[in-house]
């Protein structure tokens, strides 16, 4: 792979890594607050998995950019400004209620699983290996969140209302996950990444059918955020907390 291609791939992976990191952080905010201890453990596990996936991608980015695999991820996570993050807005929103967080996780996991299945075929072997490893965890995540969607959707009047409210809020931001990644055309042509548009179609079909089983109706799609560089104000607040310790002593060794 030539250098411009490596850098382009790193740029695309950064989007995926930031999505995972920010969502993992949001999920972790439930730790100690989930509705029941078993679920607290389960969702904290999922949070750790997502942050772990982010770490794997950040290490790949380090390798592609010729940086140190151990220290460079910390640089990316703790010392970038919100404006330099490229996560989708879906993952930035505060946790909301349990329905909101479960639905967000479900929409994300089902998209991520499809993308990972594509990445597992990537011509860049290290990328394919990471994807194959991560895919197993996503199958489990999806099973867990899917079970919740069905139960809350078909549960009580209140749980159904909360799920539908969450879906009304999350459906449009979720579409941003399938906006083409930076230099996607080139990367797809080189067999490095799966193309986003077919992923969106597969996701839409799968998710709609499951939501329907759960008695939920996706709303019309509104205005999709176009750029991964435009963020909600929530991201900056999140990063202030996430980065506060590292920034209080940038020279500290961990």
């Amino acid at each position: 792979m030539n250098d411009p291609l490596k850098l382009a791939l790193a740029e695309a992976l950064l989007c995926l890594a930031d999505d995972e990191l920010v969502l993992g952080h949001r999920d972790s905010e439930w730790c100690g607050h989930a509705p029941i201890i078993e679920e607290d453990i389960a969702f904290a596990n999922i949070a750790l998995d997502e942050i772990g996936h982010a770490a794997l991608w950040y290490r790949e980015i380090a390798a592609l950019r010729g940086q140190d695999r151990d220290s460079y991820p910390d640089q990316l996570i703790y010392f970038r400004l919100a404006a330099d993050y490229c996560c989708v807005q879906l993952v930035e929103y505060p946790p909301g209620d349990w329905a909101f967080s479960m639905l967000r996780q479900y929409l994300f996991d089902s998209a991520e699983l499809l993308r990972l299945q594509g990445l597992a075929e990537s011509r860049h072997a290290p990328l394919a290996q990471v994807a194959q490893k991560v895919v197993r965890e996503e199958i489990y995540h999806l099973r867990h969140t899917r079970a919740w969607i069905t139960r809350l959707g078909l549960g009580t009047e209140e749980s159904h209302r909360r799920m539908q409210d969450a879906l009304d809020l999350l459906w449009t931001p979720a579409q941003q996950m399938f906006m083409p990644l930076p230099k996607e055309e080139l990367l797809v042509e080189e067999g490095l990444l799966p193309e986003s548009q077919p992923l969106r179609e597969a996701w839409d079909e799968q998710v709609r059918s499951h939501l329907q089983e759960a008695g939920l109706q996706p709303p019309a799609v509104g205005e999709i955020p176009q750029s991964r560089r435009s963020h909600t104000p929530h991201l900056e607040v999140l990063l202030r907390e996430l980065q506060s310790v590292a920034r209080s002593d940038p020279q500290a060794e961990w």
């Binding site: 029941i36 201890i37 078993e38 679920e39 453990i41 389960a42 596990n45 772990g52 490893k133 197993r136 965890e137 199958i139 489990y140 099973r143 867990h144 079970a147 139960r151």
Partner: protein
């Protein structure tokens, strides 16, 4: 005050082939499928697991050795009954209940009576658990990959890895000294 918790399910885990299922604890869940998932999260993330069973606690006959001593088994015990029961015994005081075997009986009490003669542990077990086959929900072979294998190669560090206490002591000493 009414109990706001979900029902309790006992969890049984088999870690290796040809080893018996062990009772590892219990989880709360609204239904068996969620019980299985919760059991995975609470009990499987680190250790090896080949198979998980969950069964509602209220469908399990659970007796201590002492209770069994003072118990009058059902009389005129039929040789065998229509239902299958899995019998777990805890034979080591610090241990956990281990699958001793299966009996066929009409009721849980009849199953326990049959088990007492079928599994003559010396000394007698600390606890007996009789789990009706019909009450068990099991993980499947397809579950092993996504549910259990994914946890196996996770980096796992004990809290002692971080040397927090000694580092803090050293930092304090330095601070006091300076």
């Amino acid at each position: 005050m009414p109990d706001t918790q979900w029902s309790r399910y006992h969890v049984f885990l088999q870690s290796k082939e040809n080893e018996p299922h062990l009772e590892v604890g219990s989880v709360h869940a609204p239904d068996p499928e969620m019980a299985l998932q919760n059991a995975r999260d609470v009990f499987v993330r680190r250790p090896d697991c080949l198979s998980l069973w969950v069964a509602p606690a209220d469908q399990i006959l659970h007796m201590t050795g002492q209770e069994v001593d003072n118990w009058s088994p059902p009389e005129d015990l039929p040789a065998e009954g229509p239902n299958l029961y899995h019998v777990f015994c805890k034979t080591v005081s610090a241990g956990t209940a281990e699958l001793a075997g299966e009996v066929r009986a009409g009721t849980r009490a009849e199953a326990l009576a049959a088990a007492l003669s079928r599994f003559p542990f010396k000394p007698p077990p600390f606890t007996w658990m009789v789990v009706p086959e019909a009450a068990i929900t099991r993980s499947t072979e397809e579950d092993v990959g996504p549910m259990f294998a994914a946890a196996r190669d996770k980096p796992f560090r004990q809290s002692s890895y971080y040397h927090v206490i000694s580092e803090m002591r050293a930092a304090r000493k330095k601070q006091d000294g300076g």
